[in-house]
Every structure is written in C-alpha cells, then in structure tokens.
C-alpha cells in the first residue's frame, strides 16, 4: 500500500502543480567544426513542460555512450574520425523526463599536410566532372601550390605552352604555365592587348603558391595572378571567348596534351573573388592551412587522405566531384610539401 500510496502522491503532485513532463519540439543540434581537435557544442533543442526543465547531455559514438562525455561541449578525438557522433539530451522536470537525439556529424581528421602529388609529363593527369562554366561561376578564384625543377622541362626558343595543370574555361582563363628558352616557368594570362606573364621563375625547385582570380562582366574578363601572396599580374583583360564546356582537369589540358611535370598540392577553387584578407589566409605565410573557413567549392588535398585513383574533393561540391587519377598510383603521393 505504501508503494501504491507513493504513486498516488506523485500523480496528485502533478495535478496539483499543473506539471507537464518535458516534450521535445525541436531536436538538439550539434554546432562547430566536425574535425579532430575541434570542440563542438550540443544545444538543448526546444522543449515544453513544467515545472522548469533541467538538461543532461550524453555524447555517443555510433550510438554508444562515450565515457565521461556528458557536458554540452565535446572535444573531438582521433577515435571520432569517420564515425557517427551524436548528442542525446535528457530533459527532466518534476513531472518526468524525456530524451531527444541531435543530428549526426562525421568528424574528419585534423588538418595536416604531409603529401603532394607528382606528375610525370608523360601520361599522368587527373580528371573531374566539376564544370566551371562561367555561366555558373562568373567570379572565380583558383589556388594551388606547385613545385617544378628545370629538369625534365622543355626548352623553347620563345614562349610556348608547357603544360596546363588546371584547366578552367577552355581558351578562356585557365592557369597556364609557360617556359622560356632558359626553362624558366611563369604563369601566363592571355589578354586583348597581348599576354601577361608573372615574373617569379616557378621552376627553381622551390614550392610556389599560385592564385588566379577571374571576374566576368559584359566588357570581358578581368584576371589577376598572385605568386606567393604578391600580385604579379594586374587586371588583365581577357578576350571574350565563347563559353565552351569544360571540366576541371589537373595536370593536363586534355589527356595527353600539355602535361605537367612536378609536384602539385592543395588545389582549391572558390566561386568568388577572394579579398585581401582571404588571400592572406590562403597563402598563410607559405604554409598550406585548413581551408574550411574559406568555403571552397572544390578542394583537393593531393595526397593527404587520398587513395589512388581517387582524389577526394573536400569542397562544398562534395565527393561526387572527386578527381580520378589516370595512369597513376599511390606512389604518386610523395612526402614533399610546401
């Protein structure tokens, strides 16, 4: 009878107090960067019920409780990489309790850059299905790091195309590298009043950062080129070519033509003209950095986290736009980085 009496007492208390047990109306949400080493936060979500609700948290990995992870914040660890992380919120008041589970995040590894990809200028390149037509991306910025030596480069008696390691708009505004008769390599941008060349020799065996931005308008296309964070081509007006269909290629214009010789790292593409602050963050004093905050539409790490023949796209266009390596294997990923 005591037990029964207790039950009666509790029910009476709810009724007397007007208490209503918690009911979840908006699920908890995890916010923050889903990356190893980052701290993420779990919101309570929205609940109804009286009297006042208190909340408890339990973080889970693949549905199982994570030890003492019972705060609203959680530091993502190595064991979380690639796993399904959720947060369960339990709401309690005098009338009862209930639980709700957050969205799922899948953390990625902490940013480290230990690999670049080599290209042999014989038959190695990578393709994507990422179309960068100017109708879709009237403003665009393209960034990557390259390392070249004069060994293996052709010597020309005048400026001739050496290779295209990334082709954007065919005949329009790719990043193109050219060599002269001293095997010096430069970025070249073709414009209405001739071709503009960057000035730093890219074939000196050092890593260089290249950023090319192009902005379309009715009058043509204005391109700028930055080498190691310094502007070397300014407001070059391109010819107003008819738009052609073209996907992003890496290491080649189209298969066997204009192949690249050297190392490439951290290719990223942006659907806007990067401003000065963003350019500074991108170059990062000569050390590639985590680009997540810059929101690239495409970002190929060129070795880190990759397994031949796939180069993962970490940009917003997602893994459906991964690059496919052709005539290459995992030995193309080498421990040589900026």
């Amino acid at each position: 009878m005591i037990g029964y009496g207790n039950s009666v007492f509790l029910r009476t208390a709810w009724e007397v107090s007007g208490g209503v047990p918690p009911v979840n109306t908006v699920a908890p949400a995890i916010t923050g960067t889903a990356q190893e080493g980052q701290t993420v936060t779990c919101s309570t979500g929205t609940w109804t019920g009286t009297p006042t609700i208190t909340y408890a948290y339990q973080w889970k990995r693949n549905g199982s409780n994570i030890g003492s992870a019972t705060n609203s914040t959680y530091l993502l660890v190595t064991a979380d990489v690639g796993q399904s992380i959720t947060c369960q919120v339990t709401a309690t008041n005098g009338a009862g309790s209930a639980s709700a589970t957050s969205n799922t995040i899948t953390p990625i590894s902490a940013f480290t850059n230990t690999k670049s990809t080599t290209f042999d200028r014989v038959d190695e390149y990578a393709t994507t299905t990422l179309s960068l037509a100017k109708s879709a991306y009237p403003n665009i910025s393209l960034s990557c790091w390259v390392k070249m030596t004069k060994t293996g480069l052709a010597t020309f008696t005048d400026y001739q195309p050496l290779s295209v390691y990334v082709q954007l708009f065919p005949n329009s505004s790719p990043i193109r590298l050219y060599t002269d008769n001293l095997k010096r390599a430069f970025v070249a941008v073709q414009g209405q009043a001739g071709t503009a060349y960057s000035t730093t020799d890219l074939s000196n065996g050092s890593w260089h950062h290249i950023l090319q931005t192009c902005q379309y308008d009715a009058g043509g296309t204005i391109c700028n080129v930055y080498i190691n964070g310094v502007q070397e081509i300014t407001n070059k007006l391109l010819l107003n070519y008819t738009e052609l269909t073209g996907n992003l290629n890496i290491g080649s214009l189209s298969g066997t033509t204009w192949l690249f010789k050297g190392n490439v790292d951290e290719i990223s593409v942006y659907s806007r003209i990067l401003n000065s602050t963003e350019r500074t963050a991108l170059y990062n004093a000569g050390v590639p950095n985590d680009l997540t905050a810059l929101s690239p539409i495409a970002w190929y790490r060129m070795g880190d986290g990759d397994t031949s023949p796939t180069l993962i796209n970490y940009g917003s266009t997602g893994t459906s736009k991964n690059a496919t390596m052709v005539n290459m294997d995992n030995t193309n990923f080498v421990n040589d980085v900026p």
């Binding site: 014989v122 038959d123 005539n327 290459m328 030995t331 080498v334």
Partner: protein, 88 residues
Amino acid sequence: MESKADTYGIIKIEDLSNIDFSQVIESNQNTVRKSLDLSKFVIKWNSENIPSFITNGTVIPLQILNQLECIDLMQTSEWSEPTPPPFE
C-alpha cells in the same frame, strides 16, 4: 624533391592486349598514351617490379627508358602534335 623511380617501356600496339594492367601503373587500355601514328604506346612500372609479361618474353619493349628519357621522347614529333602557336 622526392620522386618516383619508374621505368618506362615503349611497346608496339599489337601487344596492347598482352598487357596485364595490374602489373603496370597505367590505368587501362583506353588511357595509355599512344604515338601519333598509333603504332606504339607507353607503359611504366616501378623499377623494382618488372612485369612478368616482360620478364617471360610475352611482350618485348621497343625501348626501355627512364623518366627523363621518356619525357624527351614524348616531345618529339612522333608523339606530340606541333606545339600550339604562342598567344601573340
């Protein structure tokens, strides 16, 4: 600069079907680089892992080259179209 130590073989086109692509770095029959007259193609392998179809004589390369030698060969008119004209 860390680089690869690959060996390149120039093979006559008639041997294309004799290539075991699991033993070379090229992806498949459709991606090999061919000479402009389509009479030969390139394969490469890690220098320490010579394909069995070569060691057993099934395929006899026309030439065996290192990377720089192969790059030089690829720049000849037998393998590359004339260099596109300069912009200006």
